[in-house]
Structure formats: structure tokens, C-alpha cells
């Protein structure tokens, strides 16, 4: 493999990391505030993909604009789901069986709803952007992947800004760090949790829209991304957004470059191995390592 091939692979891995980060961040917000693992995440990824697809095919709305529109729509869906279902789950510092079962059930309902509405065929978004590329020296940049990467980075930056510069963002962070202390400091736990759930679902829907620009999808879509999202948030630390970005980059780099050494048929084993390694060696993820280093300093 020459330098050009290596650089092309590196670019592919970094662009893939952007996609992975975008699809994982919603899960991290929800886990951080509510301490529940959102198994319905894949269902909202799927709905996001169809939302952008419908806007594109029916109203000729550019998929990128569709992704932006997905944010408020899926935020409202998330708030409604919280109000209808999630707030009834008993609060706990650990994910409970009831929350896992409820959200798994919700995923199945969403999947079947998808089959009812869109049938079982493969859908895809084909725009002039889909196959266009541009080249800098020997490196080829697929436009659609670059757009998806840019959108993912921009949405993560907005989230980071909102979490650090707004009162509401601080309230979310307070609940992620210590919900009891947050309550004492005057944070309205239920309202904050409801909005945090809405934001998590908004990110899932938007990420689904971004994925729809790259992949074909059916109502079954999202399952294979769910495992990767788990790996990323465990790698990054369950409650850290910067950690999510690092986790996504690690997974994308390892998945892409390991294929050079081992047959690509073992690619899923890489994700599982990383998950096991992270749980054994870095149970608090990369974010835990930073915190440790800061404490020692």
C-alpha cells in the first residue's frame, strides 16, 4: 500500500468517525441525564432516515435541509415519548430492566410502524451529490461523506456550546454529574430530563437523516449502528460528549485500518473486542482517563 492509499484510508476513517459521532451523541445525552440505555435509538435513526427521504421525494427538499428540519420535529417527538412513556419508569442511578424492556418494545413498535407505512423495500436518497467527489492531490473526498461529516461536527459544536454557555445546558450537565446535587441547586429534574430526552431523540433523528444520504434503508435500519453506538459511548465514557468524538474516531480508525491486517469478514468482531476491552481496561472510557489525569495534576 502506497502513501496515497494510506491517506485515502485515513480520510475515509475520519469521515466515518463524524458519522459515528453524530449517531452516538443522542444516546449519550439520554444516558447521562436519565441513566437509561435508549434501545429505541435505532428506531429513531430509521424514522429520521424516512423523514428526510419523504421531504426529499415529496417536497424536493434538499436532504441536508431535511436534516436541519429533523431537529425540531424529532425534539417534539422525543418530548412526547418522554411524557407518554419514559417519565413512568422508576428513577434509578443505573439502567433498570424496566427501562430496557420499555425502550426495546418501543423500537419494535417503531419498526413495525415503518413496515406499515413504507413496506419492506429498500429506500435510498439519490442526489447529484451522491456520487460526486473532489480530489486534492492523490486524496479523493466523496462529497456526500464530507457533507455528512461537516453536519455532524457542526451539530456537535452547537450542542457543546449549548451545554456550556446556557443555563439549561448547565442544568443538564449538573444532572449528568449528580442529580441530587442538581436538584438541591434548583434544577427542575423532570423538565430538564424531558428536554434532554427530546434533544437525544432530535440528534437520533438528524443522524438518521445523515445516514440516509449514504446508505439504503428499510424499517429494519439502524440495528447495526446501535452496536457501534454502544462501543463508542463505552469507549468515550458514558457521559462525555468530547469522549464520544474520541470514541468514534478510535472505532472508525480501528475498523478501517485493521482490515489491512485481518480479513474484513472479522470487522464486527473488532467492534465487540473493543467493547470488551473498553469495559475491562477503561470502564470509565477515555473521559475517565482525562479526569484521572486532571486529578493527579
Amino acid at each position: 500500500m502506497n502513501t496515497a492509499d494510506f491517506l485515502n484510508l485515513l480520510v475515509a476513517a475520519v469521515l466515518l468517525a463524524g458519522v459515528y459521532a453524530a449517531m452516538s451523541v443522542g444516546m449519550t445525552i439520554i444516558y447521562g441525564v436519565l441513566k437509561i440505555v435508549n434501545l429505541a435509538h435505532a428506531g429513531f435513526l430509521m424514522l429520521g432516515a424516512y423523514f428526510v427521504y419523504e421531504l426529499y421525494t415529496r417536497a424536493n427538499i434538499d436532504p441536508l435541509l431535511g436534516v436541519i428540519l429533523a431537529f425540531p420535529v424529532f425534539f417534539l417527538i422525543g418530548v412526547a415519548v418522554y411524557w407518554l412513556l419514559v417519565r413512568r419508569i422508576p428513577r434509578s442511578d443505573q439502567p433498570t430492566l424496566s427501562s430496557l424492556l420499555l425502550l426495546f418494545g418501543l423500537w419494535l413498535v417503531l419498526q413495525n410502524l415503518g413496515y406499515l407505512i413504507w413496506g419492506n423495500g429498500d429506500h435510498a436518497i439519490l442526489t447529484p451529490r451522491t456520487f460526486s467527489t473532489f480530489q486534492i492531490g492523490p486524496i479523493i473526498f466523496p462529497t456526500v461523506r464530507l457533507v455528512v461529516f461537516g453536519a455532524a461536527v457542526a451539530s456537535l459544536a452547537c450542542l457543546e456550546f449549548a451545554l456550556h454557555r446556557t443555563w439549561f445546558g448547565r442544568a443538564i450537565r449538573a444532572l449528568m454529574q449528580n442529580s441530587d446535587a442538581g436538584r438541591i441547586a434548583g434544577v427542575h429534574v423532570d423538565r430538564t430530563a424531558q428536554v434532554a430526552f427530546g434533544i437525544g431523540i432530535a440528534f437520533a433523528g438528524a443522524a438518521g437523516g445523515l445516514l440516509a444520504m449514504m446508505y439504503s434503508f428499510t424499517p429494519d435500519f439502524g440495528g447495526s449502528f446501535l452496536l457501534r453506538a454502544f462501543v463508542i459511548i463505552v469507549l468515550g465514557g458514558l457521559e462525555s460528549f468530547a469522549g464520544v468524538a474520541v470514541g468514534a474516531l478510535i472505532l472508525a480508525l480501528v475498523e478501517t485500518f485493521s482490515i489491512l491486517l485481518i480479513p474484513s469478514g472479522y470487522q464486527p468482531a473488532i467492534s465487540f473486542s473493543l467493547l470488551v476491552l473498553a469495559l475491562v481496561i477503561l470502564p470509565d472510557g477515555v473521559a475517565g482517563l482525562w479526569k484521572k489525569r486532571q486529578r493527579l495534576a
Partner: protein, 421 residues
């Protein structure tokens, strides 16, 4: 006292009546579930994926089976000598959701609880493989119209039948087709071939078939790269980069529909080019052409069936299918399923009984002389799998496609090498 005891006995009576009613309801419902074949119908189990990864092909196969059942029933049913009359066919359908464990469980349920005469099921090698352990266990004939790996039929099972030729033969025919292009001077000799195969028996056997042809015909092609990939992958950039680095002239992959779409998108985005490109049995699928547009042009596929086959029964089937399902048959999917049901009906009629072993024996000798499949005669081989030829189809611009091999069935010329733009 008397008043109290009469009240108690009334309550007892009411309770007993309630219990009796519940029991009657229970047994009625349980009875509804079974029914067996003793009445005026022949129950046929159909286990197909209409949700999940294989939903679309599964749906087409289900429609093929249901069309055959409808036509059989419209003609009065299947003549069963033992009963002295024609019996209608009743489908017992289950969706396995493209899940192997569920698929095997549902076939078991159809064969035991539902007491079906036979089961038609298993689209895709993986699902068919899971189902294939049940027929001999419950001594119920099973025909798969969607699992092609020869491996399934090499275990000395006796109740297992398949209407698709083996994927090894698909690979071999692909080699033959490429060889014919070399003989015609369209491709040069000694071209380098890269193989990317899905990590299933389907993919492995496809690769083996190609390698076998290349070994038997030295000087035509050489394999410079061969690697397996996992089904349902989200990123093929690493694999494609390795294919690129191998500097192959021909790229042959074996992939299912979603992987075909994802891989071809990344293939184009990586700026890759090969003189010939194939994704095994995928190519003219409508969903792929919608998802990939012009990028599917000149991709060729080895298919078990094509609606372009120049047989009158194929034309009739095409029209009947469109009227029944409301859409055209996509790729090869519905035809082997339609023929599986017709072969089963013929076997039941020839057996003259609903005895499953007798039907199994009849299936071994069945000869469907107006088959839709290439060659027009469907008969099961020694191991239960048909040995029918393949057709090679090549996509052309404007959503067109042609049979380009074998010559006697060709509807157009093969374009080789593939134009760069």
C-alpha cells in the same frame, strides 16, 4: 338452610357452566389452530422473511407461491386419489423476520402444531440452512426456493428439496461468461480478478465456482485478491482500498441487496474502475437501480431466472404475476417459488395421498415440463437440489437489461469492457 344450599348449588352450577364454557372455547381455539389435512384442504406451510434484511426478496417469493396456490385453487384444487376428490390448498404463512433462529422455529411449528403437508421456505442461504434441519426430523417435505448453497443438500437429508441451482454453479457460469468474452476478443487474456465474497456459504461457494472454472481453463484469468466480508456491513472503504491496491482488471463480488448498494456507492465514490463488475446474483434489482441510478449500468449478474427468457410460459407468468401482485416480478425471486409450489402440487397428485413420505418419494421423481426456469424442465437432483443452467443479465442504460449469456437465450449483446463513464 334449604334456601342457602340451593343458592350454593346454583353458584356451583354456574361455576361449572363457566368452566365448561371456558373449556369449550379453549378446545375450539386449539382445534382451529390445528385442523390438519383430514378435511377438505391441503395445508402448506410457507415460511418467508417479509420483514428484516431479506424482506423484499421474501415478499416476491411469497407472492410467487400465492399466485401458484391461487391458480391451483381456481382450477378446483389438487386431485388426491385417496380422498377421491380435489382438495383446495390452504397456505399457513409465517414471517421469519430474516432471523435464522425464528425461521427454524417457525418451520418446526408449521410441521408440528399446524400439521402441514409440506413447507416451502427459506429465502437466502442463511435462513434456508437454519430451516433445513427440520424436514427430516419431522419427516415433512420442505422445498426451498431461495437457498442455493449446495452445502444444505450435502448432508444426506431426504426430505429436503431446492428449486435453485447451487451457487457454485453460479460462480462457474460467471467464469464461463467471462471466458466467452475473452474468446470473442472483447476481453484480453490473463486478466487479473479480485473477489470480494460475503462471509456465508453462498459467498464461499460462489468464489469456489469461479476458482474452479479458472483452474480448469488456464490462461484466461488469474485471481489476485480474494477476501470475505461480513453481511450487512456499514463501511467497505478498507476492503475496496485493498481491491484497488490489488490492481485487478475484473471485480467480482457476491453480496446481498443492501451490501450491493452500499458497496457500489463506495466503489464509485472511491473513483474505482474495472473492466467488468458483478455482485453475484444482484444487479437488475429495482431497488438497487433506484438507489444507484446510472451507477448500475453495465453491472452483470448471474440469475436463476429472468422475465426476459423467451418461453411462452414465462410471458404468461409475467402477466399473471403483475395482475396478481400489482407490480412486475423483480429479479429472479418469484419464479423459483412459483415453480416450487407447482412441483409440490404435482407430487401430491402423483402420490395420490397426503402421506408425507409418499409425497417426498413423488417429489424425487417429479418432472415439471412447463417450468419457468432456464431449460424449461424442473426436476430435483439426487441430493434434492435442481441442476438448472443460469442466465447472465447485464444492466444497460435507461433502466434496461438484457440476457447476454447463454447465446441461445440472449436478448442483447454483452458490453465489454464496461465504458469508463
Amino acid at each position: 338452610m334449604t334456601h342457602l344450599s340451593s343458592k350454593r348449588s346454583f353458584r356451583l352450577c354456574a361455576r361449572s357452566l363457566n368452566f365448561l364454557l371456558v373449556a369449550i372455547c379453549f378446545f375450539t381455539i386449539a382445534g382451529c389452530g390445528k385442523g390438519g389435512n383430514s378435511g377438505n384442504e391441503i395445508r402448506v406451510g410457507v415460511v418467508m422473511p417479509i420483514t428484516g434484511r431479506e424482506a423484499k426478496p421474501g415478499q416476491y417469493q411469497r407472492e410467487g407461491i400465492e399466485l401458484a396456490i391461487k391458480q391451483i385453487n381456481d382450477a378446483g384444487g389438487i386431485m388426491v386419489k385417496e380422498k377421491g376428490k380435489k382438495l383446495r390448498v390452504k397456505e399457513v404463512f409465517y414471517d421469519d423476520a430474516s432471523d435464522q433462529a425464528k425461521s427454524a422455529g417457525l418451520v418446526e411449528r408449521a410441521m408440528t402444531t399446524d400439521e402441514v403437508t409440506a413447507v416451502i421456505g427459506g429465502y437466502s442461504t442463511a435462513l434456508g440452512e437454519a430451516e433445513s434441519v427440520m424436514p427430516d426430523r419431522y419427516q415433512t417435505p420442505w422445498i426451498t426456493p431461495g437457498a442455493a448453497a449446495a452445502h444444505i443438500f450435502s448432508r444426506d437429508y431426504t426430505y429436503t428439496f431446492g428449486t435453485l441451482s447451487s451457487t457454485d454453479l453460479l460462480g462457474y457460469t460467471t467464469g464461463e461468461f467471462l471466458g466467452s468474452l475473452t474468446d470473442a476478443g472483447k476481453l484480453k487474456k490473463d486478466l487479473a480478478v479480485a473477489l470480494a465474497l460475503e462471509n456465508t456459504d453462498h459467498g464461499v461457494e460462489y468464489g469456489e465456482g469461479i476458482q474452479r472454472w479458472i483452474q480448469e481453463h488456464p490462461g484466461y484469468f488469474r485471481v489476485v485478491f480474494s477476501e470475505k466480508f461480513d453481511l450487512g456491513g456499514t463501511d467497505f472503504s478498507g476492503l475496496l482500498q485493498k481491491v484497488k491496491a490489488s490492481k485487478a482488471d475484473i471485480f467480482l463480488a457476491d453480496a446481498h441487496l443492501q451490501d450491493y448498494i452500499t458497496m457500489e456507492r463506495q466503489y464509485i465514490q472511491s473513483g474505482m474502475y474495472h473492466q467488468m463488475i458483478s455482485y453475484g446474483a444482484r444487479g437488475p434489482d429495482q431497488d438497487a437501480r433506484k438507489a444507484l441510478g446510472d451507477a448500475t449500468n453495465y453491472i452483470f449478474a448471474g440469475l436463476w431466472w429472468s422475465k426476459k427468457l423467451p418461453y411462452p410460459q414465462v410471458k404468461k407468468f409475467d402477466a399473471d404475476y403483475q395482475a396478481f401482485a400489482g407490480h412486475e416480478p423483480d429479479s429472479y425471486y418469484p419464479a423459483p417459488a412459483y415453480d416450487a409450489m407447482r412441483a409440490l402440487a404435482m407430487a401430491i397428485e402423483q402420490a395420490g395421498t397426503l402421506n408425507k413420505t409418499a409425497i417426498r418419494d413423488a417429489l424425487k421423481n417429479v418432472e415439471l415440463k412447463d417450468s419457468l426456469m432456464p431449460g424449461q424442465v424442473l426436476r430435483f437432483g439426487k441430493m434434492g437440489q435442481v441442476e438448472l443452467p443460469f442466465v447472465i443479465v447485464q444492466n444497460k442504460p435507461d433502466d434496461k437489461s438484457d440476457i447476454v449469456y447463454p447465446k441461445d437465450a440472449a436478448t442483447g449483446e454483452a458490453v465489454a469492457p464496461k465504458p469508463r463513464k
